[in-house]
C-alpha cells in the first residue's frame, strides 16, 4: 500500500446568496471544467471515476445521482453520489485510488440551496418521527399581512409556508448545543462573537466570500436572539456555489507535471442520532481527527499543523471543533482566539478563508470549501491571506443540523 494520493486540480464557481441565472447543472459544469483545466486532464479520457456529494432532499430530486453524469463529464463512466458532505467524497476517492482501483478521480459537491424554499421543514424531516418531531410544534406565530383571507388583489403567497401555525425552526438544536458548550467550557458569548468578527474580516481577503463585514463584538452581541444563546450574526447565511477537486495517484500526478498536494490522512465518524443521548462536545470531530492524525503520522497536531479550516456554521462551532480535534484544551479555544492565536500570524491560523460565517453556508459543499482553502494555502496561492510557510493543513467538516457526523482531512505540500 505504498500508493500516495494527492490533489492535482481544484475548481470552483463564485459563491452567491442567490444564483437565478444558472441552473445547478451549469453551476456544477463550471466548477468541474475549471478543476479539469487546472489539473490538465480531459475528463472523457483521463479521469477513471467520478464522485459527487449531494442530498436528494436538498436538491429536490429523487435519486439525484442519476442527474449528474452530463455536467461532470461522466457519461457512461464509473460514477457515484455520496449522500453526505463533500469531504466524504474525498475519502471515497482516497480509497478508490489507494486500493489501486482507480488512478484519477474527480470529486464534486455544491450548494443550490436558494432553490429550496422550505429548508426548515426539510431539516425537521431528519428528526425522529415518533420521539422528537412531535415536540417541534406546531407553534403559533404572529400574523403577517393581516387577514389570512386572500383575495385576487392580495393573493396567497406561492412560496413559503402560509400556515398560521408552524413548527419551530430546527436550528434551535444549535442553540441547545451552544448553551451546553458555554456552560461546560466556560466560554463566553463575547468570545463566540469574536469568531464572527474574525471570520467576516478574513472574508475581505477572499474574493470568493459573499458575507465579508467589518464589525465589532458589539454588533454581534446586539443582533437579535434567534435561538438563544445564538444570535442572528452567530449563524452563517446560506450561499450557492460548486467546488470540484481532481485527485490522482502520485505517479500519475508527476506524469501530468502538476504540483501535487498530498491527502495524507482522512477520518470520519458518526454519533447516535438520538438528540437526548448523544454527546454535545463534537465527539464525531474528535474521533475523525484521531483517525486522520494516525494515518498522517501526526502526533502533536498543535505543532505539526500550520493552518486549519474547521466548521463554523455557528460561531461557537469553530471553538468547539478546535477543542474537539485537539488544537486547544477544553475551554481554551475562546481565550486563544482573544489572544490572536487563531489569526494569520498566530499559532493556529483558523478559517483564513472567512469560513462559513464569511463565505456562507455551502451545505454539502462546506467541507470542500474548507479543503479548497487548505489546498490554496498549501499551494501558496492565497494572496493577502496567505499563511507563511504553510506545509501541513487540516480541513474539518460537520454535516450540519441535525447531524452528529463529520470528517477530517489532512493535506501536505509535496515531498513531505
Amino acid at each position: 500500500m505504498s500508493r500516495r494520493v494527492c490533489v492535482i486540480g481544484i475548481g470552483h464557481t463564485d459563491f452567491n446568496s442567490i444564483t437565478p441565472d444558472v441552473e445547478w447543472k451549469e453551476l456544477m459544469y463550471e466548477s468541474c471544467q475549471k478543476a479539469y483545466v487546472d489539473a490538465g486532464v480531459d475528463p472523457r479520457k483521463d479521469i477513471d471515476s467520478f464522485i459527487t456529494c449531494a442530498e436528494d432532499y436538498l436538491e429536490g430530486f429523487s435519486i439525484f445521482d442519476e442527474f449528474v453524469p452530463d455536467q461532470i463529464g461522466a457519461v457512461l463512466r464509473p460514477c457515484c453520489t455520496v449522500c453526505g458532505d463533500g469531504l466524504y467524497g474525498l475519502g471515497t476517492a482516497y480509497m478508490q485510488i489507494k486500493t489501486g482501483l482507480m488512478d484519477v478521480v474527480s470529486v464534486e459537491s455544491h450548494s443550490k440551496i436558494s432553490d429550496l424554499l422550505t429548508l426548515g421543514d426539510i431539516l425537521l424531516h431528519a428528526f425522529d418521527p415518533v420521539f422528537e418531531r412531535p415536540v417541534t410544534g406546531p407553534v403559533e406565530r404572529p400574523r403577517y399581512g393581516g387577514s389570512p383571507e386572500y383575495t385576487k388583489e392580495d393573493p396567497k403567497p406561492l412560496v413559503g409556508s402560509t400556515k398560521e401555525k408552524q413548527r419551530v425552526h430546527p436550528y434551535f438544536l444549535a442553540g441547545m448545543e451552544m448553551q451546553d458548550y458555554l456552560r461546560t467550557s466556560g466560554t463566553t458569548e463575547e468570545e463566540c462573537a469574536e469568531v464572527v468578527v474574525k471570520n467576516k474580516m478574513n472574508a475581505f481577503f477572499n474574493p470568493l466570500a459573499d458575507y465579508e463585514a467589518k464589525i465589532s463584538i458589539d454588533n454581534v452581541m446586539g443582533s437579535e436572539y434567534l435561538f438563544s444563546p445564538l444570535k442572528r450574526l452567530d449563524i452563517s447565511p446560506n450561499v450557492d456555489g460548486a467546488i470540484t477537486f481532481v485527485l490522482a495517484e502520485e505517479k500519475t500526478a508527476k506524469e501530468l507535471g502538476v504540483d501535487p498536494i498530498y491527502l495524507s490522512g482522512f477520518g470520519w465518524s458518526s454519533e447516535t442520532p438520538w438528540l437526548s443521548t448523544r454527546g454535545m462536545s463534537a465527539d464525531y470531530a474528535t474521533k475523525s481527527s484521531q483517525m486522520a492524525y494516525k494515518m498522517a503520522g501526526i502526533t502533536n497536531p498543535r505543532k505539526q499543523l500550520d493552518i486549519v479550516e474547521v466548521d463554523d456554521r455557528f460561531s461557537y462551532k469553530e471553538l468547539q471543533h478546535l477543542e474537539a480535534i485537539g488544537l486547544a484544551r477544553p475551554g481554551e479555544a475562546g481565550q486563544m482566539l482573544m489572544e490572536g492565536e487563531l489569526a494569520k500570524d498566530g499559532a493556529i491560523p483558523t478559517n483564513m478563508s472567512g469560513g462559513s460565517l464569511g463565505i456562507g453556508n455551502c451545505f454539502e459543499a462546506t467541507g470542500m470549501q474548507k479543503a479548497l482553502e487548505i489546498i490554496t494555502q498549501l499551494r501558496g496561492h492565497a494572496a493577502k491571506r496567505q499563511v507563511a510557510d504553510a506545509e501541513v493543513g487540516l480541513a474539518q467538516a460537520w454535516r450540519g443540523i441535525p447531524s452528529g457526523s463529520g470528517a477530517v482531512a489532512v493535506f501536505e505540500r509535496g515531498g513531505a
Binding site: 441565472d21 472523457r44 429536490g60 432553490d115 424554499l117 422550505t118 425537521l124
Partner: protein, 178 residues
C-alpha cells in the same frame, strides 16, 4: 403474524389492514406531511428553450466538435465536455423511437383510457434527440416504432412556456401508415 405456508410458490396470506385499523390506531404508525417546496432556476439552456416553446418553436443547441444537434438543449456537450455552440430552430416533426401503452396511474390503479407515451426523435436533431411526450389522434393499434409524427400545439394564448405547450404528437399526414 400470518402463518407462512411452506413450499413453492412462497405465499403468506397475511392479515389485511384496513383504513379503519389505521384511523382507529389499532396498528402503530407515524404520519407526517412535510412541507416541501422548491423553485429551481431553469438556467441558460432551458430558459431559452422554454421561451421558444411559448413561441411555438423547438430550439436545439449544436456541438460543432461532435457534429451533434442537442434536444433538449444544454450549454455543454456530454460527449466531448466542451461548451455547445449555437442555437438552431428545428421542425416540430419527428419519428417515434419507442413507446408504451400505459394502463396504470402512479398509484398502480387502472386508468380509464390507456395513455400512449414514448420518445420522439425530432427531425433535424441528432439521432435519439428529442422529447418524451404523449401521442394522440392515433389508436393503440396504429402506433408503431418509426411512425412519423407532428407536434400539436396549444393555442398561442394558452402557452405558458412549458413542455406541455405541446399537447401531444399526432401522426404526420401521410406518415402515419405502418
Amino acid at each position: 403474524m400470518a402463518k407462512k405456508i411452506e413450499g413453492s410458490p412462497g405465499y403468506a396470506p397475511g392479515t389485511r389492514v384496513s383504513t379503519k385499523d389505521i384511523v382507529q390506531k389499532k396498528i402503530s404508525y407515524s404520519w407526517w406531511e412535510p412541507e416541501v417546496q422548491y423553485s429551481w432556476s431553469m438556467g441558460q439552456a432551458m430558459s431559452k428553450f422554454i421561451m421558444g416553446l411559448k413561441d411555438g418553436k423547438i430550439l436545439g443547441r449544436t456541438c460543432i466538435k461532435c457534429d451533434r444537434v442537442l434536444v433538449p438543449p444544454r450549454m455543454f456537450c456530454e460527449y466531448c465536455y466542451g461548451p455547445t455552440d449555437n442555437w438552431i430552430e428545428l421542425k416540430d416533426t419527428g419519428s417515434i423511437e419507442t413507446y408504451s401503452i400505459s394502463y396504470l396511474d402512479s398509484d398502480a390503479r387502472r386508468i380509464k383510457d390507456p395513455i400512449l407515451i414514448g420518445v420522439i426523435s425530432i427531425d433535424g436533431a441528432s439521432p435519439q434527440h428529442g422529447f418524451m411526450h404523449y401521442f394522440g389522434e392515433m389508436t393503440k393499434e396504429e402506433i408503431h416504432i418509426g411512425m412519423k409524427v407532428k407536434a400539436v400545439w396549444k393555442a398561442p394564448k394558452d402557452r405558458e412556456g412549458a413542455i406541455t405547450d405541446i399537447k401531444y404528437f399526432k401522426p404526420l399526414k401521410g406518415g402515419g401508415k405502418k
